[in-house]
């Protein structure tokens, strides 16, 4: 029900959460024809007030969606019932409701192992709150080896807090962040993009990086553009390379220099190679509001020796990365590959992605056309 493409929807979806006392809580969502009934039905054994609260949460979170479908009824059930003061299950209910309607998909393989903790007083605005540090402590014990953990709240890792994000754990401050979009109410623009991380085995995965741009106070000019870019997870040599990449790409942009303070974070900072550069440059352009936006995630791989000219060059590991992207791409995702790969795409690759609602472009240079 997302967009024009009509991917197969799951019959049911499961999202788990963890109670404060460490017990695991399961929220199951299933779909059935609506037949003149309410849009959302919730069931919690022996706690009708909690069921009403869950229905309210899910309905309010639905206000942030673009596409309305009143053909189906979603049934949600929660087990065991938490006590009335606990609210960290709310995010799990919202995610289960979205998963069963195909609006959100956990990584393939992790559909049954999604843990979510977060709550909100303003679901209708898409805001998600929580205590990521504390939540991670209680949730890690339940996280399966291939599981994914989504936590509500804010992490300001430049404020000296330990970074709880990682390959399997992400912290979101609003629902759009599930697809890496910037928060339209925040005074910092943070955009995530994904890139394939290939290490020749079962550990291949899509890693993300996040570019946050903070506007400089009016009238101030940074000493140098490179000093205004920080990536606390990287060692000095790699940080220098990252700074040069971003500066060159902003130079190509025309209006990019001297306006922002930038923070870059990675889901996993230990990797080799420069194939993340295209994802980095595109996330930076989107964060600065100077690029059209994808409906879903942006997945990119590519490097360049001439970012100041906007050129994109090919990278290694083509077949493995293509296979990985084909497995992971979902509805609305935008995939950007170097132009050199266009000739070697497997037959039916683009059509297969389009079938699932993703779009692919092999680009020679960044920017419009």
């Amino acid at each position: 029900m997302s967009g024009i493409s009509h991917p197969r929807l799951p019959d049911y979806a499961v999202c788990r959460s963890v109670l404060a006392d460490g017990r695991l809580l399961t929220i199951t969502a299933s779909r059935r024809a609506r037949g003149n009934r309410a849009d959302v039905k919730c069931h919690v054994a022996a706690a009708p007030a909690l069921a009403l609260r869950m229905q309210q949460v899910v309905r309010m979170a639905r206000l942030t969606e673009a596409l309305l479908d009143s053909r189906d009824q979603v049934l949600l059930s929660m087990d065991p019932a938490p006590n009335a003061r606990e609210r960290d299950w709310e995010l799990a209910a919202v995610l289960a409701d979205r998963m069963v309607r195909g609006l959100y998909a956990a990584a393939p393989g992790a559909e049954q192992a999604l843990l979510a903790l977060g709550w909100s007083d303003a679901w209708h605005l898409g805001r998600v709150e929580g205590e990521p540090l504390q939540a991670q402590r209680i949730a890690m014990a339940h996280l399966a080896p291939d599981g994914v953990l989504v936590l509500g709240g804010q992490v300001r890792s430049d404020a000296g807090e330990p970074d709880v994000s990682g390959a399997r754990c992400s912290v979101i401050g609003h629902l759009g962040a599930l697809h890496g979009h910037a928060d339209l109410a925040d005074c910092v623009a943070s955009v995530r993009s994904w890139f394939p991380l290939y290490c020749g085995g079962s550990q291949d995965s899509l890693a993300w990086l996040e570019v946050s741009v903070f506007p400089l106070a009016a009238g101030t000019v940074p000493a140098s553009e490179e000093d205004s870019i920080a990536a606390p997870q990287l060692d000095p040599a790699r940080l220098q390379a990252l700074r040069q990449t971003l500066c060159a790409a902003r130079h190509f942009d025309g209006h990019g220099l001297g306006r922002w303070r930038t923070l870059v974070r990675f889901s996993q900072p230990e990797f080799q190679g420069n194939s993340y550069e295209l994802a980095l440059v595109m996330a930076d352009r989107m964060a600065r509001g100077r690029e059209f936006l994808p409906r879903g995630r942006l997945i990119a791989t590519g490097q360049s020796s001439a970012w100041h000219a906007g050129l994109v060059e090919a990278v290694d590991g083509q077949q493995a990365k293509l296979a990985l992207i084909a497995r992971q791409a979902g509805a609305g995702d935008r995939i950007l590959l170097p132009a050199g790969w266009a000739a070697a795409l497997p037959a039916g690759y683009v059509a297969g992605l389009r079938q699932r609602g993703a779009s692919l472009a092999c680009i020679e240079r960044i920017g419009m056309i």
């Binding site: 309210q56 206000l63 209006h255 059209f292 419009m368």
Partner: protein, 374 residues
């Protein structure tokens, strides 16, 4: 014998036509400036276009005067990318002799009360564009290639023609950078604004409350739905009346547009299309017999809360109507290719379901009792 009547000076200010004003309602005695077209609607809703000149209206006739343009507009396809826009040049084309009713005439008749300023037109076009992009009807992804751009242009042209009756002369992506400063906008956001609170009304559907959706535009990644609602931030009885007027006038026009489509061969497609037209016809009938907003039964006033709920449902139906026009535009482009047809029929099913849900909610004075919140 008008000789003895005191001559009334033209009252309506039509000076901005073709510049900041696209169209304006006229009355008897006004003089439509040269270069504009006069559009007169008879009492039965039939339109006729006349050359510019003095306006003389019979009883129960209404007239609008519009300038065909061209108009240059800047649209923002994504709220989160304020430095990247589209520059558009649109015109109101000469009347198409092959159709009984020009789409632009219908647009003026059903959606414009008095005047249509260029800014208002820009807001409407932008809302339609953002909705189409958020729903995936149109694609304008990062690093758009030339083929993708052409596909976008074709879809967008058709959308504007089918939805507003406007012809796109030219459309180019532009860099709004020196004027639109995203950094300054972000700095302005650092000043805290009060969060709008939301008190749910029992029985109110999640889809309905447009004023809440309008508030959501401040935050959510998808702002298009709320952008539509933003024009009537506090829905009132007027919004309800305007919405029902639009549904009353436009649903038959939408049906006749769908009727003209070429159906792919096969009994299934034909039957499905017949069923769709029947549903739209029933919805139209539903609108024509819609009860008044403020009464639950004759001489029994309806509480204000329930009136709000009814207005919410009207806005929900209205959004389904807009999606119906966008669907018609897609259909007109896709031809009678069977697989595309099937996907579009699925969307049509969704739009009809939303329309029926909205109209049913608008009809009921109180939300139906449902066992244990089912």
């Amino acid at each position: 014998m008008g000789f003895f009547l005191r001559r009334r000076a033209p009252r309506t200010d039509l000076a901005g036509l073709g510049d900041t004003l696209v169209a304006h309602a006229c009355e008897t005695g006004d003089v439509a400036p040269a270069g504009t077209t006069l559009l007169v609607f008879g009492a039965n809703g039939q339109a006729r276009r006349q050359l510019a000149g003095k306006v003389a209206l019979a009883e129960a006739e209404r007239a609008w005067c519009f300038h065909p343009g061209p108009y240059t507009l800047t649209l923002l396809p994504f709220a989160a990318a304020p430095e990247w826009g589209l520059q558009l040049k649109v015109v109101v084309d000469a009347a198409n002799p092959r159709v009984a009713q020009q789409r632009f005439d219908l647009f003026l008749y059903s959606e414009v009360a008095q005047g249509l300023a260029l800014v208002q037109l820009q807001e409407r076009l932008q809302a339609a564009l953002q909705l189409a992009l958020a729903q995936g009807v149109l694609e304008l992804a990062p690093c758009t290639t030339l083929e993708e751009w052409h596909a976008f242009r074709a879809g967008f042209n058709q959308l504007l023609y089918t939805r507003f009756g406007l012809t796109v002369d030219d459309c180019v992506p532009i860099d709004l950078a020196p004027q639109a400063d995203y950094a300054a906008q972000l700095r302005a956001r650092a000043v805290p604004v009060p969060v709008p609170t939301f008190n749910p009304i029992a029985g109110m559907p999640a889809e309905a409350p447009a004023h809440v959706a309008a508030a959501a535009s401040a935050v959510s990644a998808v702002s298009a739905v709320s952008a539509i609602a933003a024009s009537h931030v506090r829905p009132d009885a007027q919004a309800d009346a305007r919405g029902l007027r639009r549904l009353f006038l436009e649903l038959p026009a939408l049906s006749s547009g769908l009727r003209l489509l070429e159906v792919p061969a096969g009994a299934d497609a034909f039957a499905a299309h017949q069923a769709l037209l029947l549903r739209l016809g029933m919805a139209s009938l539903n609108v024509q017999s819609m009860p008044t907003l403020g009464w639950s039964a004759p001489d029994q006033a309806l509480p204000l809360v329930q009136q709000q709920r009814r207005i919410g449902h009207t806005l929900l139906s209205l959004q389904a109507l807009d999606e119906g026009w966008s669907l018609l535009a897609q259909w007109q482009r896709s031809g009678n290719d069977t697989s595309a047809w099937r996907l579009l029929h699925d969307q049509a099913d969704r739009v009809c379901a939303n329309l029926e849900t909205g109209l049913a909610g608008r009809r009921q004075p109180y939300p139906p009792e449902q066992e244990d919140g089912a």
